[in-house]
């Protein structure tokens, strides 16, 4: 059984620091809707905050798509962050703790990865970056 969308995806444009806040708030609302505990809602919101911040820092603008899905007896939230920025030359390195090219803390990607269940980065230098991350919960009958 594949991953099925439950509702329309929600798009949040990321162009300023205000959008970082609204992306993580929308993520929290959707996570609540999908039945995640308040602890998981916080974890999801924190992960969204970090990747939204990455978009601002490296690409200046981009978008975050949020979607509730189901897969068998699992409910999930999928977060896709897309930008057309410079891309990440070395994704493996960018996923290491403490590695940052922005003078930041270097926690963005590795930190968000630890918070979520599935985490995937596709980046093409000069074209942009797409980060896809998922959080799952078992549906109670």
């Amino acid at each position: 059984m594949g991953v099925l969308p439950v509702a329309e995806e929600l798009l949040v444009a990321i162009t300023s620091d205000v959008d970082v806040v609204s992306a993580r708030q929308k993520g929290r609302e959707l996570a609540a809707e999908a039945g995640f505990s308040s602890g998981d809602q916080t974890v999801i919101a924190a992960a969204i905050s970090e990747i939204a911040r990455n978009i601002l820092m490296y690409a200046k603008r981009g978008e975050i798509a949020l979607r509730i899905v189901m897969n068998g007896d699992l409910d999930g939230l999928i977060v896709v962050a897309r930008d057309q920025g410079p891309g990440i030359p070395d994704v493996t390195r960018a996923l290491q703790d403490g590695y940052s090219t922005s003078g930041g803390l270097g926690l963005g990607l590795p930190g968000a990865r630890r918070l979520m269940d599935d985490f995937d980065v596709v980046s093409i230098p000069g074209k942009g970056t797409t980060v896809t991350m998922k959080k799952w919960r078992r549906r109670h009958a």
């Binding site: 806040v21 970090e50 803390l105 926690l107 930190g111």
Partner: protein
Amino acid sequence: MEVPILKQGLYLIASIQSALTDADLSALREALIERVGKYRARGVIVDVTALDVMDSFAVRTLRDIAHMARLRGAETVIVGIQPEVAFAMVQLGLTLKGVSTALDLEEGLAFLDRQGRERLDRVQGRGTRGGTTRG
């Protein structure tokens, strides 16, 4: 959204009321550091009870506030980090190393009072030993 800063005795208390943007956080940092001088404050309490997320920027700004305030002669305590927020911070690898924290406002005030007393004791202790320089 501007964060209200109250002056109570020798302390400044900033209670964050809602989610803050990066610009709001930076404005809070500037306001607190300026007011430490203006009110000759000895302590700063930042109450983050209402914050439902602390990401890397928020943590870095709080750390900067504490270190800058210390350079201006005031001790900072961060109070009210919620359990879920603490969990997410640890997972993200965010620490408040070198920054004092307390459970809530009451504990934060007690902490600053204790710090103040210790500072006084140190000063008086030095005085009775006839001006020997220490520490």
